[in-house]
Symmetry: C3
Subunit: 280 residues, 3 copies
């Protein structure tokens, strides 16, 4: 009764798909639906390097200012992994200036995504730890492959580091305080079914239905008038965005001094070593 047909008039003939691809992310805009897709393709595990983050921000900015774009799907071109999170090589054995530049790029990515005017949908075709979970949690809606082998969560504590306050705030807004407190302390990765039970993802979908489901979810959100939806989203997210904006420099300083500690560097090197051996 209260439903509404999508505002975009149907356009015939079917519009072309514009694609612009850089090194790390493939971006496609379907002009008939107004839905863009960002496909992460940075092997082996879509880790969030400085290059990746820069491409992400430029791509998102372009879509944000494109009047033909109303929705954004974030997904991965790499099987079994959405994104493994922040690139540890950017945080290990580099200069303080590099750490600061890297951290600003992480902040920038979150500020743009969490504050995006587009409908943002995370389509999790694989695991999504740490920064990957932040990206997913910053979207409007999350669907994930129904496979208990894939997991999602802020597991920073497992690496001996601490999620920044705005990762935490974003996560609390999704799963609530009790679950966030426990999961962050344990660095817990929720297997997909558990992630759904605790609300960290909204729906589980068999892998072969992922695209179809994503299109249906997006159509539901795009049926709303943009302006009211955008103002509503801004109202819900304003407090968190402003909190980082007010403390951005402090947050960079905190990160740089924390990550520069010998004990943390040692712990990260040990972690990378472990990853290397596992592969080898």
């Amino acid at each position: 009764v209260w439903g509404r047909a999508p505002q975009q008039p149907p356009r015939l003939p079917p519009a072309p798909r514009r694609a612009f691809s850089n090194n790390r992310i493939l971006v496609e805009l379907d002009e008939s639906s107004g839905v863009a897709t960002m496909k992460f393709k940075s092997p082996p595990v879509n880790s969030l390097s400085l290059e990746f983050l820069t491409e992400f921000c430029i791509g998102l900015e372009k879509l944000e200012s494109d009047r033909g774009c109303r929705g954004l799907v974030l997904t991965s071109a790499i099987p079994r992994i959405f994104s493994s999170g922040l690139d540890i090589t950017e945080m290990c054995g580099k200069s303080p200036e590099h750490y600061a530049e890297f951290w600003r790029a992480v902040q920038e990515m979150w500020l743009r995504l969490y504050g995006s005017n587009l409908v943002t949908l995370a389509v999790l075709n694989g695991s999504s730890p740490a920064g990957g979970c932040l990206i997913a949690s910053s979207c409007d809606y999350r669907i994930m492959v129904d496979n208990p082998k894939f997991s999602i969560g802020l597991n920073e504590a497992q690496l001996g580091i601490v999620a920044p306050f705005w990762f935490k705030d974003t996560f609390v807004n999704v799963v609530g305080h009790r679950v966030a407190e426990r999961a962050l302390q344990l660095g817990y990765l929720f297997p997909a079914p558990e992630a759904q039970r605790f609300g960290l993802v909204d729906e589980l979908v068999p892998e072969e239905k992922l695209q179809e489901k994503a299109a249906a979810v997006m159509a539901q959100w795009l049926a709303l008038p943009d302006h009211a939806r955008q103002l509503t989203k801004a109202m819900m997210r304003k407090a968190l965005l402003e909190r980082l904006l007010a403390h951005r420099d402090d947050d960079v300083q905190n990160f740089v001094s924390f990550i520069s500690k010998d004990s943390i560097q040692k712990s990260l090197r040990g972690y990378m070593e472990m990853l290397r051996k596992k592969k080898g």
Copy 2:
């Protein structure tokens, strides 16, 4: 073990029911139980007109200062609808002064109801969109007819408008941040069973058991000593009430300038037109 019998001594013979009815709301006070009932009877859909809101506030004030009244049931005399929310005719084609007066009345209604010292129970015998959902969310407890045809939610976004921050805050306190964010952006109306699953209503009841259930719930709440319960309620709700009181004039200004926009007026006229055609 820890339970307590109601504090009110039993009174014999059965006390009379005092009723005072105005145009829009029928108010009855059962003197033996101390429970008042406000029955909305403003056809066709109990929309919250300036007249309705004024009656509501006067009625509530009267009950609040009546020492014989301890609990308040809000329900509707009209089948299938609790309240359709704010009266759009008050927001369309009127003067800025009228909009301001109307908005102050909406604020007043919420400030009194959310801050009420009485035990407040919403008995939802039908659908409860927008402002109807605000009223229900401002009560201490909500029971709803177990019928998936009836729905409840803040669907403002569907009309191209934005729920004010204190609608949002009240809603977040009931369903939490994630559910509120999604529902507000989608202007989602929860069918009764879903409303219960997400905690937006506390219990579903077959229509014929509604009165009986309401009486049982009220008796449970009235078993508590008033003073401690009132102080506890005030502690829980103080932050939200103070937030609107601190920004009341700004909030009126925001509403007046938003609702006066040509685009919004056009959208509301279109919506009214659609309602008219559906009826016709």
Copy 3:
């Protein structure tokens, strides 16, 4: 995959258990695991007297500064009761100075426990009303005997008194705003199965498996590196701790003036009388 073995190296031969017991609480530290246990043994119902609270704080301080201690289990040596909460005899018929001293001890207990660097685990072998519920809610994790005869909750309103704001804040962080608002107003005690359904306890365990489960949960938490876990916990709990620290004196004053009221004293005397008769 992301799991980690405990950081503590295995030590052979099995280390001795150091025990230091005072009048109200038995403290044991297992040196091999680094897990201390505080067993409340203050008959009949482990009520939180000034003496109990003082012992609790001294014991916790000792463990906190013991580098061999990483985790703390709180449980009761008395069957069927974890703790009955604040000792009403400390709040009844005493001087304002006594009330103030008592309240500072309650604050101190919470500040130390909620802010503890240790992994804190509540093992609820019986009921846990009022202050007992506060202690449990201040831990990192809660397991409870799977027995519907045992209950937990902040039932202050039933006694005609009001839970202080920091009891409320701690409770809201565990169960969320809606559930907290209702439960606090009703002074509701959740039977164990309901407590789990609403997240007030994390797991229910058959009585005979309680120790085994406690050890398993503790091992999971101790598998994390202490430093990152402690910083994460501090980040999650900082706002609440600071709120009480900023208002500590006011909170004492409020308590003293509230509890000194004739009506409250009368209500507490009546409650104690009732307890006495039930026993007799």
